[in-house]
């Protein structure tokens, strides 16, 4: 048994060595965030950010490997060195920048308010005293917590919040607009609708997160992002996944 394990490790080491030219970067991704990153019918992790990184890797010379990781604790795993980077629709915020480094933005995002079709709510201000759900530790959830008089409720996955909104346990859900569109326009198109996009002072951007000081990976990512944008690949991907 031990012999076998040692043999396997040696083989792996050799393989890695031979593939050194193409650096492998392991990304943690919470694949519950369609259409940015999610698990498709054949159990593959797919989505906008997956395609984006694959293209970026081709341009900058790295191979992305995706590791499906629960959102809650995803940042702790990064500082614990369990993966090289996070590609999980992470909005760049001042608090997060204190703890980790971010790549250049790769996507502009807004927070969308989703309600039941019958609901008359047009903004968070209309939902005083009501329960509004978001995914734990997301900018959407922080927006709910920041809204006066609204009862914030945090979920492990945005899908669970959508289900509770669908059955009426919640009055609304706040999340990133591409995700909101995916749920309100496709999955729950008969029952839910997007009420509004929350207005903010500054635009919100997704970035890939790396451990503080990991310049090697950060440089590769930025090189790839720049190339994907310059070559017009970004436009194709948006068309494919977001439909715009």
């Amino acid at each position: 048994m031990l012999k076998k394990a040692v043999l396997t490790m040696v083989t792996l080491a050799v393989l890695c060595g031979s593939a050194w030219a193409e650096k492998t970067i392991v990304f943690a991704t919470d694949a519950t965030w369609p259409p940015m990153e999610f698990v498709d019918g054949s159990k593959n992790i797919v989505g906008y950010s997956i395609d984006f990184l694959t293209a970026a890797g081709k341009e900058a010379g790295f191979t992305p490997v995706f590791k499906n990781t629960a959102w809650d604790g995803i940042f702790a795993g990064l500082s614990g060195g369990r993966y090289d980077a996070i590609s999980s629709s992470v909005s760049i915020t001042a608090e997060r920048q204190k703890k980790m480094d971010f790549s250049e933005p790769y996507f502009t995002v807004h927070q969308a308010l989703i309600v039941q079709k019958a609901s008359k709510a047009a903004s968070l201000a209309d939902l005083k005293g009501k329960k509004v759900g978001g995914q734990i530790g997301t900018t959407g959830y922080f927006a709910i917590k920041g809204a006066e008089g609204v009862v914030a409720k945090s979920y492990d996955e945005i899908g669970l919040a959508m289900e509770d909104l669908n059955v009426g346990r919640l009055a609304a859900v706040v999340c990133d607009d591409p995700v909101a569109a995916n749920y309100a326009l496709i999955k729950y198109k008969d029952t839910l609708r997007i009420a509004t996009v929350l207005k903010t002072d500054k635009p919100e951007y997704y970035g890939f997160a790396v451990k503080k000081g990991n310049k090697e990976v950060l440089d590769l990512l930025n090189k790839g992002i720049a190339a994907v944008k310059a070559k017009g690949i970004e436009k194709e991907l948006k068309k494919k996944w977001i439909g715009q």
Binding site: K153, L160, D164, G168
Partner: protein, 262 residues
């Protein structure tokens, strides 16, 4: 389910309940309690911005945890009593229904049941999340309680039933006035254990977005990134609660054995 089960009720998971006679366990209990209290006081003083913040974040979560625990155990006791009676019933349909319930519940992980009942209920009736969580917890624990009740009732000498029946008590009165008051003493230690186990298992309802201790802690950690500090405090809070409860239960158990002392 073998009928050859011994009369002794197995103590399942849950904190070991210290017997007042057992000096070793009692002192272990004291050490744990003092250590927990000391850490809960010292850590926030040492670092108010992390450990201290956690403590200000979770008090309403503690209330929710208690609320879910107490409601669940109450409902589970009722379900358990009915199930236990059903399992010893001579009516084969009642017996079958009760046994089927126990088999089904015992075969499904609690977490899966929680998800299932929470979202299945949501499809048919509009109940608040805490109610759904309580129903799910009680549905699961009711089956275990049923086994505890069954064993407790069966542990009472049949002569007690016969004496009551011969005086003219019907089956229900016999159960109520003679069997259950005695069975309760046998039942209490495992029920106490289940109570503590249930309290710990309520941490699972945090997955259903019920804002209990664990979820409040996770919300704090996800904002502050202070994972280590948060879970240290959460573990200590749970430990403090279960330590106090196990002591209360052991005292209650001691008092209930009044009629066995010479």
């Amino acid at each position: 389910m073998a009928e050859s089960e011994s009369e002794k009720i197995e103590i399942g998971e849950g904190a070991a309940i210290p017997s007042p006679e057992d000096k070793g366990l009692v002192s272990a209990w004291w050490i744990a309690l003092l250590g927990t209290v000391a850490l809960l006081i010292a850590l926030p003083i040492k670092d108010p911005s992390t450990y201290g913040k956690v403590l200000t974040f979770i008090p309403d979560g503690i209330l929710v945890t208690f609320e879910v625990t107490i409601l669940s155990i109450s409902l589970a006791l009722v379900i358990g009593l009915l199930t236990g009676l059903g399992r010893i019933s001579k009516n084969r349909y009642i017996n079958l229904a009760a046994s089927l319930y126990v088999e089904v519940v015992r075969g499904i992980p609690l977490l899966v049941q929680l998800f299932y009942i929470y979202f299945a209920l949501g499809r048919f009736v509009r109940v608040p999340d805490i109610v759904a969580a309580v129903i799910a917890m009680a549905f699961c624990y009711g089956a275990y309680m049923g086994e505890v009740f069954r064993a407790g009732i069966k542990s009472i000498d049949f002569g007690q039933s016969e004496a009551a029946l011969s005086q003219g008590f019907n089956q229900a009165q016999t159960m109520r006035y003679v069997i259950l008051p005695q069975a309760w003493r046998t039942i209490l230690p495992p029920v106490g254990n289940e109570f503590i186990a249930l309290l710990k298992d309520t941490s699972l309802v945090s997955i259903l977005a019920v804002a209990d201790i664990l979820r409040r802690g996770r919300e704090y950690a996800s904002e502050s990134f202070n994972y280590f500090e948060t879970y240290t405090m959460i573990a200590l809070v749970y430990l403090l609660i279960t330590l106090i409860l196990s002591k209360l239960i052991s005292n209650m158990e001691h008092r209930l054995s009044y009629y066995e002392k010479r």
